[in-house]
Amino acid sequence: MINSITARGISKSYAEQAALHKIDFAVQPSEIFGFIGADGAGKTTLFKILTTLLKTDTGTAEVCGYDLEQDFLAIRRIIGYMPGSFSLYGDLTVEENLKFFAQVFDSTLESNFELIRDIYILLEPFKKRRATDLSGGMKQKLALCCALIHRPQALFLDEPTTGVDPVSRQEFWQNLKAVSHQGITTLVSTPYMDEALQCDRVALIQSGKILQIDTPANIISSFPKALIILKTSGNKNLLINSLKEIPLAESVFSFGETIHITCEPADKPELISKIKQNQQNISFVDNPQPDIEDCFLYYMQRENG
C-alpha cells in the first residue's frame, strides 16, 4: 500500500537546542495516526514541518505524494491544519468564520457538507455567536469544521483536545473517526496517554525522538516487564521512596491513587514478598494490566539508559 505521509530522518534544532532528532515514520491512507508525548516533546515543531510552515535542518518527507521541499505550495492546497492554540477569528461569528475559510479554500459550506454535517449540526444553534464566546469544546469543533471545509487529503491536528472537557473530547474523537472513514488521513498529537487508544496507530515521542510506533494494542501487549500495582492508606511519597530502595524494582511511578512498579517477570514473586515484608497499610491490585502510560514510561526509561 502506498503511504500517505512518509518522513525520513527529520531533524530540527532551535539555536543549538535539538527539537527533533531523526524522525522516521509512515502513515497509511485514511489512518488516524497519533503522536503521544508530553509538552515540549517536539510535537508542534513536527506538525509545523509537515504542514510546510517550518523548514527542516535535515531529512525530508512526502505528503500525499508531494515532496516537502519542492512541492510545498502543492501540499498546502491539499492539507487541513488545526494549530494548537485556537487560531480562528474570535471577533467573527461561527458563520462568518466558516464562510471566510470556505471561500479562502475555494469551497463552500454546501459542497462538502456531508463531511462536516455531524459537527456542524452541533454548531448550528450558535452560528450567530462570536467564536470567542464559544465553550472550549465548541471552539475545537468550529476549528475542525474550518480545517475540513475544503475536504483535505490529509488533516493535521495539533493537540486538538487540550483544555477540552472529557465529554467534548469523546465527541471530538467520534467526529475524527467519521472523518477518517471518509478517506482522510489524520495526524493528531496529544499529551493525554489515554487518547492513544482512539488512534489506529501511535508514535510515542519524547525529547524530539520517536520511542516506538505501533498500534496501541501491540504496544501494550509487547510490554516486556512484569507490573505490580498497589495502593496505600499511609504516606504515598514515603512508600515510593522506600520501594525505590529495593534493587529488584526497576521503576516506581506514582499513577494518581496507585503506585506502579515494574520488574523482570522472573523476579515478580520475590519482589512481592519483599514488599509485603517491609510495608504495612498496602493492598495489591489483582491481575494488573499495563496501559499506554506504563509503556511510555518504560520506553522513556530505556531511551535515557
Binding site: K55, I79, Y81, G90, L92, V104, C146
Partner: protein, 364 residues
C-alpha cells in the same frame, strides 16, 4: 480576486467589531485638530504693549492711535526707563515701542533708527510674532514713497498666512501625524495579531497569496484614512478657515500617496515583530515620535542641526507637510513640489520591496 474580496471583507469586519478602536481612529483626528486649533496656538491677541513716546508729534500720536485700534494690542503708555524695566520684568507687558525724540523730523529727513522695539524674548515664538505685527502696523504709518527699510532695519513680509495663524501651519502637520498613526500602527498591529494568535499559519497554508494578505490589510485602513482626510479638511476649513488654495484633486492625490507610504511602514514593522505589543511600541516610539518632532509640526525644521535635518528626510511626513503647504496655502505649480513627492514615492517603494522580501512563506 474572490480570495482578495473575502479577505478584505474579513478585515472590515475586524475593524467594525472593535468599536472602541474604531471610535478612537475616527474621533482622534477631530480632537487633535480642535486642540491644535484652539489651544496650542502661538497667535497673539490682546498683547500688552508698552509705548514710550519721546517725540510727542502729530505723527507719533497717530501711530499710537493705530496700535490702540488694533485688536492685537492693548496699549499702555510708559514714561521712564525704570517704568519700562519694571513692566517687562513683572511680565505685565510683552513688548515696548520707544519712539525716539524728533522721530517725525528725522523720518521726513529720511533718517533711520527713529523707533526702537524691545521684546520679551523669553518665548521666542511669541516675540517673533509680535515683531511682525508691530512692523505691519508701522509700515502703514510710513510714507509710501519711501522704502520701509529706511525706518526699520527689517520689515519681513508675511505671505500666505499674513496673520501667522498657527492652525494654518498645524493642519498639514496634523494630517501627517494622524495618518501615520492610523496607517502604520493599525496595519502593523493587525498583522502582528494574526501572527500572535496563530491564524497567520492557517492563512499561509491557504491558497491566499501574500499580496492578498498584505494589500487586504492595507485597504480598510486606507478607506478610514480617506474619511479622516475629509474630516480634517472640512473641520479646518469650516471652523478655522484654513483655505485650500490649490487643486483639491492634487490635495487628495498626494494625501493618498502619503497614506500608502505610512501603510508600507506598518507593513515593514509587522514583518519584524511577532506580537501586537511590540508592533505598537515600535510604531509609537519609532515612527510617531519622529513624525511629530521632525515633520515641522512643532519645531521648525530649519532650526534643527544639519544632521537632524537630513535625518528628518527619511520620514515621509516632512515631505508631505511641504507638499501640503504648497497646495493648501500657496497654490504653487506642481513642479515646485515634484521633488518631495518623488522622495515619498521612493521611500514607499523601498519599504515595500524590503517588506515583501521579508514576508516569509516559510519559517527557518
Amino acid at each position: 480576486m474572490k480570495h482578495f474580496k473575502i479577505f478584505v471583507w474579513k478585515e472590515f469586519l475586524h475593524i467594525w467589531r472593535d468599536k472602541k478602536t474604531l471610535m478612537i481612529i475616527i474621533l482622534l483626528p477631530i480632537i487633535e485638530v480642535l486642540l491644535f486649533g484652539f489651544v496650542l496656538t502661538s497667535e497673539i491677541n490682546n498683547v500688552s504693549l508698552g509705548i514710550k513716546d519721546l517725540d510727542n508729534s502729530l505723527w507719533s500720536k497717530n501711530l499710537i492711535l493705530k496700535f490702540h485700534n488694533s485688536e492685537y494690542f492693548q496699549v499702555r503708555m510708559l514714561h521712564s526707563a525704570p517704568e519700562v524695566e519694571n513692566a517687562l520684568q513683572s511680565n505685565s507687558i510683552k513688548a515696548v515701542l520707544e519712539i525716539k525724540p524728533d522721530a517725525e523730523r528725522k523720518m521726513r529727513a529720511g533718517e533711520s533708527g527713529i523707533i526702537q522695539l524691545l521684546l520679551d524674548a523669553s518665548d521666542p515664538n511669541i516675540a517673533r510674532t509680535i515683531e511682525v505685527y508691530v512692523n505691519n502696523i508701522m509700515a502703514s504709518s510710513l510714507p509710501r514713497a519711501q522704502p520701509a527699510q529706511s525706518y526699520l532695519s527689517i520689515i519681513p513680509l508675511m505671505y500666505y498666512n499674513q496673520e501667522l495663524k498657527s492652525v494654518f501651519k498645524s493642519v498639514p502637520g496634523l494630517m501627517a501625524v494622524v495618518l501615520m498613526l492610523i496607517c502604520a500602527m493599525m496595519t502593523s498591529v493587525s498583522l502582528a495579531r494574526e501572527k500572535e494568535t496563530g491564524s497567520m499559519n492557517v492563512l499561509l497554508i491557504s491558497p491566499l497569496k501574500p499580496w492578498h494578505i498584505v494589500i487586504g490589510k492595507m485597504i480598510p485602513y486606507m478607506a478610514i484614512s480617506i474619511v479622516n482626510i475629509l474630516m480634517i479638511t472640512a473641520l479646518s476649513y469650516f471652523v478655522f478657515g484654513v483655505p485650500i488654495r490649490g487643486s483639491l484633486l492634487l490635495f487628495f492625490f498626494f494625501s493618498i500617496l502619503y497614506v500608502i507610504s505610512a501603510l508600507s511602514f506598518g507593513l515593514l514593522i509587522s514583518t519584524i515583530v511577532q506580537t501586537q505589543q511590540i508592533a505598537m511600541m515600535i510604531s509609537l516610539a519609532g515612527l510617531m515620535l519622529p513624525t511629530t518632532l521632525l515633520s515641522g509640526l512643532i519645531y521648525p525644521i530649519r532650526n534643527m542641526p544639519g544632521w537632524l535635518q537630513r535625518f528628518s528626510g527619511i520620514f515621509p511626513a516632512r515631505w508631505f507637510v511641504e507638499i501640503l503647504s504648497h497646495i493648501m496655502l500657496k497654490d504653487s505649480p506642481v513642479s515646485y513640489y515634484l521633488q518631495p513627492a518623488g522622495i515619498i514615492l521612493l521611500i514607499t517603494l523601498i519599504l515595500l520591496v524590503i517588506a515583501t522580501k521579508r514576508f516569509k512563506l516559510r519559517y527557518d
